[in-house]
């Protein structure tokens, strides 16, 4: 047959379990015990509350420009729960929920957005990369980590995160391609929050879904409701299990929405309507998951209030740790550049030390 359709493999799926009315598809819902559901809920709520606090801190000038995560908590928390502690992650910059659920300190994001390298303090026991600012560049690091795991014969996996905008970068393509060629235990989580700053998803790429981009690399893609933590969890879990067993990579498109500004320097009224935002606020992942855990009798208003209080306590303590930190020695830039400082940098360090001392900047308070 000289002119024929090519049958494209694999197929691309869509998955939703807990919809915006908090209706749940029982056949698809994962079996998670009350403790896990409580922790999921707690981390989502913590992420939300920390986000609110960080916005306030930015307004008060206590940190710099900040990139909120409001509305996207289900993606980063849900996927975090599908991982083992010995798995690795390579985040972009809107995965605060992941960091928290993986065990990062609550004050670490304050340090990051506050202008401290201390904001990349990966806890000792945690295998995560810090925030990566150049869009999509970290997808390649995730590939490299997964590759190293495979070469070393481990059964661990690595998950990388990027945004809808990130899928347009060459690095995303090269990462996906290497992952396919070497069948690496890597999961590409694309947080499709509908915008790359002002660029709407529809103008980012012409493909109907981001999930189908996996077809270009010969591996599985799945689109999930990213405001549905159960769907995110299930899809990630399946991808992780498959990767762990040598089944190779998966692309997960999590369809969500950035309810807040791109960063605190951004004015979204320039590029989207209040109505659109309102419509998405109804699909808030936290509202439906709160209802779900209540409906299932896992939590009630009182226990939730207890969790709220506990979170506020913890955030308060984190803010105090952040604000009382005073060790911002300008000479640090010479301390971590190389394992051993070469003579010419030793000399620059001395020159610099003398200058900042002379200028009274050596005891420059961090804020």
């Amino acid at each position: 047959m000289p002119r024929r359709l090519i049958d494209i493999e694999p197929k691309v799926e869509f998955l939703s379990i807990l919809n915006e009315h908090a209706e749940v598809d029982q056949t698809l819902a994962p079996e998670l015990d009350g403790d896990v559901l409580t922790r999921m809920f707690t981390w989502m709520l913590t992420t939300r509350r920390l986000d609110e606090r960080l916005i306030n801190m930015q307004r008060q000038g206590r940190i710099g420009t900040y990139g909120p995560t409001r509305g996207q908590e289900a993606v980063s928390v849900g996927s975090a729960f599908a991982l083992r502690p010995d798995d690795w992650t390579a985040q972009a910059f809107r995965e605060t929920g992941l960091m928290l659920a993986r065990g990062w300190a609550l004050e670490t994001p304050m340090f990051f957005w506050g202008g401290f390298e201390e904001g990349n303090a990966v806890p000792d026991s945690v295998n995560d990369l810090p925030i990566s600012v150049p869009v999509a560049s970290q997808t390649l690091h995730g590939v490299g980590i997964a590759w190293a795991m495979k070469l070393k014969g481990k059964d661990t996996v690595c998950i990388t995160y990027t945004g809808d905008g990130g899928t347009s970068e060459g690095d995303f393509h090269e990462a996906m391609n290497f992952a396919g060629v070497y069948q690496l235990p890597v999961i590409f989580m694309v947080q499709n929050n509908q915008f790359a700053i002002s660029c709407p998803r529809s103008k980012q790429t012409r493909s109907a879904t981001l999930a189908q981009k996996a077809l270009a690399y010969g591996f599985d893609g799945i689109q999930v409701d990213g405001n549905d933590i159960l769907a995110v969890y299930v899809a990630t879990r399946e991808a992780v299990d498959k990767a762990r067993q040598g089944g190779g990579p998966t692309l997960i498109e999590a369809v969500t929405y950035r309810l807040s500004v791109h960063t605190t320097a951004d004015d979204p009224t320039k590029y989207r309507s209040a109505d659109e935002v309102k419509a998405w606020e109804k699909r808030d992942p936290l509202i439906r998951f709160r209802k779900y855990v209540k409906d299932r009798g896992v939590l009630d208003d009182q226990t939730i209030q207890g969790i709220e209080d506990d979170i506020q306590q913890k955030i308060k303590a984190a803010v105090e740790r952040y604000e009382s930190y005073n060790d911002a020695d300008p000479l640090d830039c010479f301390r971590y550049i190389f394992a051993e400082l070469p003579p010419e940098l030793q000399q620059q360090k001395e020159e610099f030390a003398a200058a900042v001392k002379e200028e009274g900047l050596d005891r420059h308070p961090p804020r």
Partner: protein, 326 residues
């Protein structure tokens, strides 16, 4: 004469170019609907439409690479890289094609293109948003590299860059975007690319700078005058490729002393080039070692530590005192 910020001055130059020449098109991330993350392109989409002011996906190589095709075809694309720290994604297109097309085709195809990008520290930004790496472009044959320092010269130089028949890297000191206002004429003006500006004449020491370092350098010159009775000559390079050797050398022949100031790393930076030109062609006039006041050859720190890291007027004045004391 309206008094404007550099952001506004750049906006005026872009609007003027778009108005005068249908072949001018702007491309970049968030430059249309959003008006640019620094608002340099504010209002341009509305006035000129989406065929002239083009919002692109997040892909720097595509912006520059597509602009190469546009330029070869006869358009005059003006690309914006959102930050100079993300222009490396396009560097292979810049080095491999933007800088080469005229030479490769012996003039059959040319690249009348401008690549604008904000550079430098001082705005309390996150990683990759504060670096200065102008020397990388200056080291790349086939490019011109222009760095304005005030609203008026920013507007005039951007106009010259857009009118230039060859590619220009237009490196914008973002710390100066809104730092000062300056009067600009009603009518568009140009400035020759490759000419430095003697900002302040002096006889004792030459301070060479550009971009956002102009302000602290002028302050240092004032301090030196006030506190030491020293007469410093301040040169604002404005273009680092080509670089105006004549103005630098004339000054050194007069003062015999050189301090070069920049934000970029020291090793193989613009300061090295200035020093080398003086050591090649005016060594007999030098009465003291030259001095480079620059960021050090380490990574630009996150912002709580940047104030100490960036050269300030104190450090520049101290450098001048050193060479004066020799």
């Amino acid at each position: 004469m309206p008094s404007v910020t550099m952001v506004k001055a750049l906006n005026m130059a872009l609007a003027e170019a778009l108005r005068e020449d249908d072949n001018v098109v702007l491309l970049g991330e968030d430059i249309g609907q959003d008006g640019g993350v620094f608002r340099v392109t504010e209002g341009l989409l509305k006035e000129f439409g989406a065929n002239r002011v083009i919002d692109t996906p997040v892909a720097e190589s595509a912006i520059v690479g597509a602009a190469v095709g546009m330029a070869v075809y006869g358009l005059r694309p003006v690309c914006e890289m959102q930050f100079s720290g993300f222009a490396y994604q396009a560097f292979h297109q810049v080095e491999g094609h933007v800088a080469r097309y005229r030479n490769r085709t012996r003039g059959r195809y040319t690249i009348p293109m401008v690549i604008r990008m904000p550079y430098g520290g001082g705005i309390r930004a996150i990683e990759h948003h504060s670096e200065s790496r102008e020397a990388i472009y200056a080291h790349t044959p086939g490019l011109k590299v222009v760095i304005p320092s005030t609203p008026r010269n920013a507007r005039a130089l951007l106009r010259s860059a857009i009118l230039d028949p060859d590619p220009v890297i237009f490196y914008e000191p973002k710390a100066s975007y809104r730092a000062i206002r300056e009067e600009v004429p009603e009518e568009p003006e140009t400035m020759p690319i490759g000419k430095a500006r003697v900002v302040q004449e002096g006889t004792d020491v030459t301070l060479v700078c550009y971009g956002s370092m102009l302000r602290p350098t002028v302050e240092a010159a004032e301090d030196l005058a006030d506190q030491d009775g020293v007469s410093a000559e301040v040169i604002d390079l404005l273009s680092i490729a080509p670089m105006d050797s004549d103005t630098i050398l004339a000054s050194i022949r007069k003062t015999g002393r050189l301090v070069v100031v920049h934000e970029g790393p020291r090793r193989c930076g613009v300061g090295a080039e200035v020093a080398a030109r003086v050591a090649e062609r005016a060594i007999e006039y030098l009465e003291a070692p030259i001095r480079r006041i620059t960021c050090h050859d380490v990574l630009f720190p996150y912002f709580v530590r940047e104030r100490a890291f960036l050269p300030q007027s104190d450090r520049i004045a101290a450098g001048a005192r050193d060479v004066l004391a020799f």
